[in-house]
Amino acid sequence: MSQINAYRRKFMAAVGGVAVGGLASGVILRSVEASDVPAKPADQPVSNKVRWGMLIDINRLTDGGVAMVEACKREHGWGNDPKSRPEQQSQWMRTVKVTDKLTQHSFTLPVMCQHCEEPPCVDVCPTGASMKRADGIVQVNKHICIGCRYCMMACPYKARSFVHESLTDQRPHSPRGMGTVESCNLCVHRIDKGQLPACVEAAPNAVIFGDLNDPNSRISQAVKTLGGSQIRADLGLNTGVRYLGL
């Protein structure tokens, strides 16, 4: 069975809301694959031949993305800064509940940096700290961030946070510190080593990660057949994070 058929099949299963038994479980297990992120030699720079993207199937996220958020917290160590008030805590990723006022139908989806092709946060940054890597990852170069927070204002997805207090014992692979802005960086430190982002690993049945520029990648195949909507597509930002079931 080709991959795309496999995907379509389990997507249909999700839409139908039916448990499909033994076969389906095998298919589901395979939805996150080693080949999605080929390892790059450590001494090679990233290239714009690649554009990383993520397709999140909301119907398959039975917890609405809570596990993804938890995985992100664990990986980057945010969300529990001792002296900050709850509204000051960093939030690299959050779950958002959407309810249709008329029908009362509601669903929950995880929202984080959408890794725009035309990121407004990069446009407004006065120092160049808010940047887009060649491979499409939007992140903060904290070494030159002055903490002005223009980018937080500019982001239509409310994806960025500011660190309000001095911290110690951060995760060695994810430095965070007072006075700088931060946000989802698609786990650059993992991608560069050929690993998947932590949240993708936490929701293997519902998320496909990969290279949108490679027509043969599983994510490209999936978005080609199934589509994948952008949040606020009207802004024309061409996001790298796409959703099914919005």
């Binding site: 095998g26 297990l29 694959e33 001494d43 720079p45 951060q170 692979h173 080593k193 690993q195």
Partner: protein
Amino acid sequence: MPLLSNIKSLLVLALFAIALVGCDAGVPEPNLAPAKAKAAQCVEPTADMRKNHMKYLLVHRDKTVIEGIRTTQHSLNECINCHVAPTREDGSAVHYTDEKKDHFCSSCHSYVGVKLDCFQCHADRPQVMENINYQHKLSSNTYHLSAKNAPPELSDLLLLGQSQQAQGVTQ
């Protein structure tokens, strides 16, 4: 009161002597014990490192953040992993800002009077509390059954769970 003045002059002498010894001790040694326990050499010749470590670090940080180059030779994380022990013998955590100035970088930087802001963000000691689940590599067989062709079994799922647990214990 000849005795008292004698004592006084003795005291003065003693103080002077202490001051002299202080001068002699002069340049403090950087705390190299943790690194020497792990390796015979630094990542570049020692004399070169003394002079140029900041250049290597600053070049490497831009290469990493902007270009995604992840070599280990001039990586700040690697300096810390080799040069700093997470705790002292009494079990207390070693931090760059500690009064004791026994953190490798502060053991020299406090003397030369150059302030570092790196450790406002960067971990200043190797990680001790483990982040259990997310350390395994894609290529390792503990990761999602990388074999594309073999159909995954329920037992694979169990295996995955077990190996993750095992990692949590060993790390």
